[in-house]
């Protein structure tokens, strides 16, 4: 009995000793001050432009490609969220103006129009800048995504115009003026860019 206990203890010690060389890699290290210092300027100071939405994202992985793909996906998630926030605000203002009684039909149609722009596909969401760094055993990627908001505004207006009744009602609101102003600014910006 005593021998078998001693043998079991020795076996357990031997196994534990064999595992001493392995190290666990932290795949999501908390950024320390050195890492933050090396972050590109555009990551901490995201550009501002009325014609674009911007999203700065970072991701880590022991696989270089995954670090890049994760950051790209996170950046596009942020763009999609910004789009939703922007058009939710427009929807809320339209709702306040048309009311919930007779205007509820228009509100439903408007919601349908903006959801078809926001919730389906992001058009033109490109990587503007990127950076790739290796921190010991993991890769850290940074991406700055940009998306021209003007094109999304134009798509929304086109969807609304396709529904004549909704367009007539929408034209009488301040929400229309706001969207129309933004589209005008975008058209002017495109002319200035020579597009």
């Amino acid at each position: 009995m005593n021998r078998s206990v001693v043998a079991a203890v020795l076996f357990a010690l031997a196994i534990t000793g064999c595992g001493g060389g392995s190290k666990i890699v932290d795949l999501t290290p908390v950024p320390n001050s050195e890492i933050l210092k090396r972050a590109p300027n555009w990551f901490t100071d995201v550009p501002q432009d009325p014609n674009y939405l911007f999203a700065a994202a970072t991701a880590t992985s022991s696989d270089m490609q995954l670090a890049i793909n994760k950051a790209q996906t996170e950046g596009r998630n942020q763009l999609a969220q910004q789009m939703e926030v922007k058009f939710n605000g427009l929807q809320k203002r339209f709702q306040e103006e048309v009311g919930v009684g007779d205007g509820s039909e228009y509100l439903d149609q408007f919601t349908l129009a903006y959801k078809s722009v926001v919730s389906t596909v992001l058009h033109g969401s490109r990587i503007s800048k990127q950076d790739l760094q290796q921190e010991r055993q993991i890769w850290r990627s940074y991406v700055l995504m940009e998306m021209p908001i003007g094109e999304a505004n134009q798509q929304l207006m086109a969807k609304i115009k396709a529904n004549q009744n909704l367009y007539t009602r929408f034209r009488a609101t301040e929400a229309f003026d706001e969207l129309d102003d933004e589209i005008d600014r975008f058209e002017q910006w495109k002319k200035n860019q020579g597009n």
Partner: protein, 240 residues
Amino acid sequence: MLILTSMLTASFIWVSAAKLADYPPWFLKMPEESGVHFAVGLSRAYAKRDSSVSQAVRDAMYQLRIAAETTIKGERLFQMLPGGRTVYQGEVFLEQPGKAATPCFLDTVEASGMVMVLAATRRPDHYDAEVGTIPQHAPPSWVTDIPKDSNGVYAVGMARAYYYEENSWREAERQARQELAYSIAARQRRLFKGTTETSFGVTASATAVRLTGVQTMERWRSESVCFVLIRADSGATAPQ
């Protein structure tokens, strides 16, 4: 000591550039001419050179089909765990190149353990295999600042430098084409659940685009990473 080690490992990928002078000029900066598509076919340098050249020629013809037109459909899945860690849950991508074109082969070079064949859809009016830019060991600007113009869309693809280098370049180009597709149309679907303290969920990022005029513009490599800049016509459409 730890800080010094991490700073050194962080900067080595940019500092120690490989021997770029080994590559032909047209491999690092592809020729450009209106109405002509260029492509490079790659093969491992086998003991029998004929085998390598045959494989590189076949690859060049395939790359020319992609250059003319290619349809990309795919989706990546990620899971966000409580605590904020994002986990990759797989992807599926299908790429269907357009019809075959009659190629014109312009040059064949063996370097870095690869055989490279430059092909075009027709013989360009102005082309000299020896003329090119001097390879730069510092990373070119497009590696970090992706170019933008009104006539096309650009993307940069990267891949680790594998032992068989042709696989690295192919993978970098594949990644660049996928990013091109995403930049034209990306469908983001998210489902998040959680409390004020923690959240978890899934993200599916899908794309389906037909690209035309897909042209590799430039290539560059550091000691450990291969970079490719590609461009496509801006008039991409959703596939049928």
